[in-house]
Amino acid sequence: MSALMKEAPRLVRTQPLMELSGLSKTYGNVRALDDVSARVYPGEVLGIVGESGSGKSTLLRMMNLEESPDTGRYRLDLPELPEDLFTLDRFERRMLRARRIGIVYQNPHLGLLMKHSSSGNVAERLLVAGERRFAVLREKAQVALEASEFPIPRMDAPPIELSGGMQQRVQLAKAIALEPAVLLLDEPTTGLDVSVQALVLDTLKRLQQERRITMVLVSHDLGVIRTMADRVMVMRHGRVVEEGLADQVFQDPQHAYTQQLVHAKL
């Protein structure tokens, strides 16, 4: 048995679930992504860290098929999908997002309809995927909200009346309602106070352990990444400067920028 198997047996996979290769994207004169490649294996949590403007959110938007790169390919190891997901048209992307990719945004306004009910926000995802039975919509929305530890008596309250932590739980419930193949988390705890952050992270960890959901977590908070991630990718100026097991990267950072980040945190 290899050392890797001893340290983290769940990371040993032969086939990545998600594979992005050679992604580049330029906005005007700004090179947002420069030949970025990433692999995410089933059941693991990939943490992406970097300062503002490093390209991590652009990369996440591409993983969510909200944006296409200038060059590069994207493959999800799921049946009936093309070798490069960037070849899908807008309609196909929307259906794939609805059924197989969940996302939680830093800003709940991006992910939620603030004046609709919380259960309705979850149900919307099911509706887009084609569910047309009202009773099933209610039931599935309730199950997803329960899983994200949202108080069920408030399931029909609109997110605008909820706290930031509760809004994130609604986003999370919406994201997991259809048991996605991969869950994308874009700074899910930024802006929350520390105790609420801890609760949201606990929920995420529990979901990850119970359901083995594959997650990609973007954050500039190294504490969050350290708590959640199995592997870490460090980005700067649109490039991946370091990648490795979380413990490895945090305990023995190789790149000067990673060292600076880790020491800044410490």
Partner: protein
């Protein structure tokens, strides 16, 4: 030099009020609308001698389709004798030589505001519905460019969500008129502000329906034998207005869509909404033998 010297003698330059290029524009857009059922086609809406919002869209379509051999019927919320309906009908007749009628069975062109007649329309008839707001997504997406993109993507999740929210808040779908319907399994359209009672009359109908909004400059159509399915959850049946048991105080007919007439004592009386259908019923009750066509509803149930 006077103005008349410059302009020359007046002479009729077109038939049916609209000039040839306006008619060509409308014909092209009607053909497109028929080709893609339920899809809104933009068109160059012209000025006609009634105010925007009073049926200019419907009038332009009728003026394009009308010919001397046509027989036109115009109804306003079911009534043939309202000022608006009578004015439009007379205008149509005057500019085209077409015959006027109140009888649904005699009409070849039926321009209507907010109702579909109770007697079934046939393949030789065209129904033209006046539409104030052609965009069914307006309530869920205020940006019209985004709404058009949503139609292109068949992205109707928000429409369904609207129904879900109403079910959660009120226990039932609260939409009355303009109930959104999926046409041919592809485009969601507003059937114009017809009551829910009438929406199902469009489903697999023999006649062609053209819906036109003059102010908003949009035409869409339901060709004959096309599926028109109101958006409804699989486990929450579509309900029409509860008029099946109501009886018309004037004609005595039961089981048709009624107008509510407030009474002085605070109660409500009812009168069949399709005015000429009511006239036929009164004639029959009084011993006459009017020709009454087959109706969409029988005993308050869709036949």
């Amino acid at each position: 030099m006077s103005l008349s010297d410059l302009t020359g003698r007046w002479k009729a330059f077109s038939y049916g009020f609209l000039d040839a290029s306006a008619k060509r524009e409308l014909r092209r857009k009607m053909i497109k609308a028929v080709a893609v059922p339920g899809c809104q086609m933009p068109y160059a809406s012209r000025e006609v001698p009634i105010a925007r919002g009073w049926g200019t869209g419907g009038l332009q379509v009728t003026l394009t389709l009308v010919k001397p051999s046509s027989t036109v019927k115009v109804i306003d919320q079911g009534a043939d004798d309202s000022v608006n309906a009578a004015s439009i009908r007379r205008f149509l007749s005057r500019v085209s030589g077409a015959a006027e009628t109140w009888d649904t069975l005699d009409a070849t062109l039926i321009q209507s505001r907010h109702r579909i007649p109770e007697e079934k329309l046939t393949r030789d008839q065209i129904l033209i519905l006046q539409v104030p707001n052609p965009e069914p997504l307006r309530g869920v997406e205020p940006n019209m460019s985004t709404a058009r993109q949503m139609h292109a993507d068949a992205d109707y999740g928000r429409m369904w969500l609207q129904l879900y929210e109403q079910m959660v808040r009120s226990g039932r779908v609260m939409l009355g008129a303009s109930y959104p319907a999926m046409v041919n399994g592809r485009h969601v359209m507003t059937p114009s502000p017809i009551p829910r009672w009438d929406v199902k009359k469009l489903h697999m109908a023999e006649h062609l329906t053209i819906l036109s909004a003059g102010r908003e400059k949009r035409i869409f159509a339901v060709p004959p034998y096309t599926r028109v399915e109101p958006l409804v959850f699989d486990d929450v049946p579509y309900k029409v207005e509860d008029h099946a048991h109501l009886t018309c105080a004037r004609s005595g007919v039961t089981g048709y869509f009624m107008n509510e007439i407030p009474q002085e004592d605070g109660s409500a009386g009812y009168e069949v909404s399709d005015s000429h259908f009511g006239i036929k019923a009164i004639d029959a009750r009084d011993g006459g033998t009017p020709t009454v066509g087959q109706t969409w509803y029988r005993n308050g149930e869709l036949a």
